[in-house]
């Protein structure tokens, strides 16, 4: 009788965490900004307790850095740090692709083919926003196929640390540098069960994108958005 019992009592700090995370990923906070607990609480319409939990969690994940007086600051990603992240990502995502090539299943392969087709049509339509979303889904469909949850979780953390930089890719890069070609090659390697090729293609995809992003760095090693107006905090 209590079929509609679904309370969905999600805690406020969980909502705050998700919203903060998305805002960070979308680059809605300028790098270097100190996130004040009281200011965030006001913008969320809650007390500081839930936002404190959310910020604590984000700092523990490495998504936010902690400043001098334990203040949470949104990190600027230097070219050096992007290179470090690329090393870790290649190790993790390369291994995940390798495992995926061994344990691939037909259902997952169908999803990958579908995602790849969607990505190609979005490229043709020059719809970058949606493309980045499906691009993320494509990668993580592969990683989920590895069957190693901790690996997927750790890779997600690295993507979070890359933060808004992932959205810096401009359509010209995606179209001209044949970046998606590694995606089709990776999928082909996975269906063939070729772990070496799968790893090689994923690593190439990551490093080529990272090299492109590194070329955007200024003299101080700061990475900035290429064109496209940068939205302020909100």
């Amino acid at each position: 009788m209590t079929a509609l019992k679904r309370i969905e009592r999600e805690p406020l700090w969980d909502l705050a965490h998700a919203q903060l995370r998305d805002a960070l990923l979308a680059g809605r906070f300028a790098p270097g900004t100190v996130l004040t607990l009281r200011a965030l609480a006001e913008s969320f319409g809650t007390s500081i307790t839930p936002v404190r939990d959310a910020v604590t969690r984000l700092v523990a994940q490495g998504v936010l850095q902690q400043g001098p007086r334990n203040a949470a600051i949104v990190p600027h990603l230097t070219a050096r740090e992007l290179g470090d992240l690329t090393v870790v990502r290649c190790a993790l995502e390369g291994q995940a692709a390798r495992e995926a090539a061994r344990r691939c299943n037909t259902a997952g392969l169908e999803r990958l083919k579908s995602l790849l087709a969607t990505m190609q049509s979005l490229i043709a339509a020059k719809n970058l926003e949606s493309y980045l979303d499906y691009h993320r889904q494509f990668h993580f469909e592969i990683y989920a196929m590895s069957g190693v949850p901790i690996l997927v979780e750790t890779i997600e953390n690295m993507w979070l640390r890359c933060g808004p930089v992932l959205s810096f890719v401009i359509p010209e890069y995606v179209v001209l540098l044949k970046g998606w070609d590694h995606h089709t090659a990776a999928l082909k390697a996975i269906v063939a069960g070729d772990a070496d090729a799968a790893e090689r293609e994923i690593v190439a995809d990551i490093t080529e994108a990272a090299d492109y992003l590194a070329s955007l760095a200024d003299a101080n090693g700061q990475l900035r958005r290429p064109l496209r107006e940068a939205l302020a905090t909100s």
Copy 2:
């Protein structure tokens, strides 16, 4: 004039975090135990606010699992999960060893030689407690040599997730299975700048220890301490 200004005002939640972390690593909490905020607060002599911060951070790091009602429970590591962790560790620590072989410096190499000598003498003295400590230092001295902070940080997180299982190795294993031989071989590979050999030795060290631990699993895949009385919660 204010030379002795060092206040060392470390927050309470930082102390609670460190103590909880060490207790988890030492296996002082039985797997499956639900950590109650009020009970922890009483044991620390503080209010629940600092321990809540500490627990939130540990859950975000993946060191603690969150139970049904957002309760923090200390995870039991199954043989399956240990295998997953081993895959991730091999990818990360293998890459770190590879980088260390490229960027090795004389100061670090001296520290590694010293640590290795200490480890061998501790093995001879059958002092397992101290050995495990120096064993940890030896590994992370290599990883720090990679010069990739994010890589080191991620590896630390994996070691935390392995939790108390790392202390399950018994002296017989360390002495008989020549486990430390991989350590000398890894150091030799690093001084020679042989990245392939360094990765191979570190991976072998990890997988051999993991295989030994997996042999301790019961029919349910639960990993338990071999002999040695298991200390209760406190």
